[in-house]
Symmetry: D3
């Protein structure tokens, strides 16, 4: 169960409302790098958690914290929108086309749909999408999904930090950026705890069942003789310690694919032939030259 | 520029067509863990690459390989669907409800829309979504997105491996599982090359600007006195080596949020008040008790 | 800020795991009638709330409760999936096509993507969509959105109740159905408090500005002489008490729409003409006969 | 069957084309509050209607009227776009960055994809989504969905009214706002006709089967002692007249959720354990400490 | 404006309700090949029509007819679902897993969300998407979009025809298939009327501005010496009569792409360098080796 | 399998970076008319190809070429974004609201999410959608889908050409416009090869099974006596040569649809009645008046 106290985790202050910045902040709410994603991702991972209890508990702790981050950002959007519709109206009514342009950097739905409130959408107004919530049932894969979410999330937050000179907004973002630092470290700490034997993920699939001969080969698909794509990944021991990196030219070993004609019920064109009616095939053989 | 030879990277053989398995394979094509995502992700990262040339080259090498993986899986879907529509017709026409059920495990659009072919969709027929293609402009974040894609991708492939007894399909999947092993290692090798100073990502944002006091604190949101969520992430040096993990109870420091009434143009209800028209507020004060 | 205790609001018990029912339960998690929608809707309405403080507080209370409902349903999905993948494997491997069909009623992504866990998606695997989260900035419109969510939500829950004979699941659903009863009443109580002057929503738009002559007319678009569509809405005082219902045949008063040819830069076909270049129009006049 | 006469239901006049306003109007066409949603919603409810014939007839009458509303708005978009691409070209070519900004408030796809026409999308260019079309099979739930659609729809229309000074556009919107007034009343009239016994929706589910002890309790999830969230909904008779409102602190009665380890086929990490293979569990017990 | 008479354009009769077939029919309602798409596409093309009036009139005629087709198919879905929920309940309650599978071929939302009604979604429950509604502002491109919609639509209808033995359903589909025949011919008739000078579309872009040297060349991207991809399109006069088809090996003439380092505000990794701050670049030169 | 050489098919040169134009270019990458769609469409059609081999080969040739077009456009987006974030920061920080507006025409995610790179999205930031990838299994329908894609694609490219005065961008677009010319011709060449007997598509469905009496009738749904919608499509031989065009007034022959009450488990309102429980119906007869 969940509880609340109505207070903000950290101060949200806007010195000068800026509807354009409100739009940018939406990316941190409902964008793929945003707080709705990490919040729901950690909560679903907790609820679906099978295995050591401490991971479930930890995910629940942090998933709950992230609700407060959405709350802070939603409040920041609201404060940045205050007074903005009156200004917009005046601008829209002016005859000067330059003035009319002011609404450009805004999300019009902040006025039309949300009445000066935050939305479950990204900086372009594209709605939050549940497919971004990754809970795979494999804890190592989940932790990598979480590190990924926090790295792209912190990159987003630092970009937002650069896009504003509002000291209140900078202060709030500096708080969120610090939390992203912790969360990056937190999920990496789980990976450290799982240890090097976690790889390749999943570690419960016997390596002997995979095609070992291509499990540590960098396959070059370049038509050029010499590749510039060499590095740590083309020589030395593999990162998982279970193989030796190799550089190879990719070659096709699978031959040309051959598909049968489609069943009659599919209603391709006659020229495509049909299966498995040999009579029909005889009839159209001349046409399709097959 | 890109080239092709029409051949498969590895053999695709289906001993016994199985339209249900064709549906499952769609997840590996157009699902979030699938090959379309990694293919486009690596190619966009290559095309957008700013920085050391070898990373662009490597991304292009592997992004190109992934096109061949989509090709293999699409071929596998086609082969698994052969002869399946005739059977379906017979089943649909039978009076036995059990028999009618056979179509249950299928994707009906494999027949209705694709005519026994593969689609750019997942195992539930949900279309591939471009939002899954992550290219952040930060190479460390991108590499984490790639490791994540390959761990969830390999988990998916091993589950598909378990879901079939077709030796041809198992053989193809064993090949793809091996390639996922390499690709996990490959992106981790870049991270190793970038070194421990890569964290927190982005490493170009001065740490002094973030709220250092919460940058390495595990904040517990539990109402319980004692937490079970302790571990590597609550004590010792942080993974990025730049702080010491701490355990703290989360407390709100931001106070209650206060929003102004909305502008008149927003047309909330009268009872909500309006801004910035003080006359209007006076008029409705009794009603809203504010 | 938000807190948790890791416990379930009400018991979640599954006597006999049923992966088909797990799929149905997803509609109550990530479907448009589901708990993710109401949870986020109430929280966003709270965070965006401008006006009397008690409404913000109430929305926050109930929005927080709904997180616990998602938690219960996610747990129910997990419990219904236990042991189901082993069975599926056996079934898939059997030669009897009837047996292979068993997987039909399942969401394959419960295995492939979530590893026997719940997802942020509906009963067809379609991801949760942020556009469903309605927070309009008008409290009466918001309350109607909430009543609607709780009526469709309770209808869904009663249908799920009918679809299972598992006593644990029936017990959990009976709890959720009761909460939906309360929440329907709760939002209607706000509407009662706002009173009859709340309509038409928004009540802050002066009625004199609308076309009063069609504000209370039922317009019949039927080509038939006599309409069967009469009722309370075609006679008597209007529900908002501000007009008299009338029945009228709809008639077009707007004439035929006339659009100018498109600008030259749009590159329609020559036959469509262009604006505002009269020379070009002269040249193609014979062709388009305009 | 359906018929048309090619005329507009009401005059659509644009005194001064404004591509920015064309973008805003898209919300009223293809947005969640827009006319496509209500049109399709009423038509699907009519086509799916089971029960008294007059409701089907009424829904068909009004669903058909709404097609004419989309027609009016599409025409308004077209008229607002006339001459706008030529201007845009000039602006794009100018070196002054201020001038380049003019295109900001436009939907670029009005030019690129629609050639100065309307689209089935919202004000941000997000496509219309069929999930918004609610037809639940329960007439009370459907009517509430319709009231909700007309309240958010009228709020949207009044905001658009504020955003323009074009007298033609104001006149058209004043017509649509009046129709929204009627339609709000119309659906509420059905609810009045259904009477107070319609609640809780669905009224066909025996109340005795729900957990009556929580069916009329406002559950407070606040960690604070005293709640500010009291009101009509915490005391007195419930709105449906079937209970007494109570205020209670929410408490968890469901205990901690316990999930079994996942099946082996799911390929979690070894550290997560597997079910139902006891041998495997024994083998990894030391590692996972479970 | 639009009108209706409540009657079906053609008889909809279901001899034996079949919920599985109801699911398949959804593709013809809300799928990309379905009637919602063509209906809205023709109506939007009519409303956006600039140019000869007769095309607007014709699009309006046929767009209006298509509403009646959605109506027929929605009715067919409803009739196929009658009595199906009772059966489902019984099946779900049985202990035999084979029996439980019966629900496999159904769309569960037909029960859970629509209460035995049709939905604005495809055969997998994926919602109708407004992006499918093509209205380009170029009449030749629009007509090609329409021919495409009617060819894929008729292919879909014939596949549905094969999937049922219900004589009522076959009769209804035979009617719709005939209408698709007419509509294919109808849009091709417009293209015939526009004549051969319509190509390449748009014909209002001066051909001299395109790179004529590659305007009629089939570029082979195969790494193989000899191509099997020759045909009508590699020799002879081009179809538009304005060039001669050629076969050429594709060669890259654009050189290697070179991107500058990203701006500092973007916060890539230090190793990626930044622009345009040369001092920063000096500082990290050793690291990135650039 | 696929290969690459890292070079661009044609020069991509940007004389003056323009982030607004970068946004417009996104439509040609990830929009429905864009290169991702045609690329994936041709590749999937090739991989799914059943029938004459040469069509598979040709589709593979051109699908591979289209990857290079995405590459060119992604490079163009990157080059147009260079240096743009620094400028944006300065603009955002300025107090002049006119200046703040500059960001209007940009896609904010080009900075926030992609770090000055291209995305798999359209000009409004709406993600690429896999549903646009049409591969029907019928070669004639596929070819019409391809002609449609290339006509709308070329229209888009010519509009982009008009929107820029950058000579590098014009040169690149002139190359792509020429390739669209070839591809339009190429798919029409296949249709020419298939010959007039390809229609109506699919030609494998016996025409005798469709309702021939309405297969060549233009059905007028206008309530007006005289139609202006006559033309080539209302008289003379049909385009497929298999019928004679007729003009007819549309009339409903299907009568009024009659649906049974819903099953009890569906939980409509009592007033809607239920099936198949006659006792229940008796009980509520008075209420519903049925």
């Amino acid at each position: 169960m969940f509880y609340h106290d109505g207070k903000l985790q950290y101060t949200v202050r806007v010195d000068k409302p800026n509807p354009q910045f409100a739009k940018l902040l939406q990316q941190a709410i409902g964008g793929i790098e945003g707080e709705m994603r990490v919040c729901l991702q950690y909560l679903f991972q907790a609820w679906n958690s099978r295995g050591p209890q401490k991971y479930r508990d930890m995910l629940l702790e942090t998933g709950t914290e992230e609700i407060a981050h959405i709350e802070m950002l939603a409040t920041a959007v609201c404060l940045n929108l205050e007074g903005s519709s009156s200004a917009l109206k005046d601008e829209m009514a002016m005859s000067n086309p330059m003035v009319e342009a002011v609404m450009g950097g805004r999300d019009p739905r902040h006025i039309l749909s949300a009445g000066l409130g935050a939305m479950a959408a990204d900086a372009n107004g594209v709605p939050f999408n549940g497919s971004w919530v990754v809970s795979s049932g494999n804890i190592a894969a989940d932790m990598h999904a979480n590190v990924m979410a926090e790295t792209t999330g912190r990159v987003l937050a630092t970009r937002l930090y650069e896009m504003t000179d509002d000291s209140g907004m900078k202060d709030m973002l500096a708080f969120l950026i610090a939390r992203d630092t912790m969360h990056q470290n937190q999920w990496m700490a789980v990976l450290e705890e799982l240890g090097p034997d976690a790889y390749p993920v999943p570690n419960s699939f016997p390596s002997s069942l995979q095609h070992e001969n291509v499990a540590y080969s960098f396959l070059s698909t370049s038509v050029n003789e010499v590749s510039n794509a060499t590095g740590r990944w083309t020589e030395g021991s593999s990162i998982d310690g279970k193989g030796i990196f190799r550089f190879e030219k990719a070659v096709p070993t699978g031959g040309l694919p051959v598909l049968a004609p489609a069943d009659k019920e599919i209603h391709g064109q006659i020229e495509q032939g049909v299966a498995p009616d040999p009579g029909f095939i005889d009839k159209v053989k001349d046409i399709i030259g097959g």
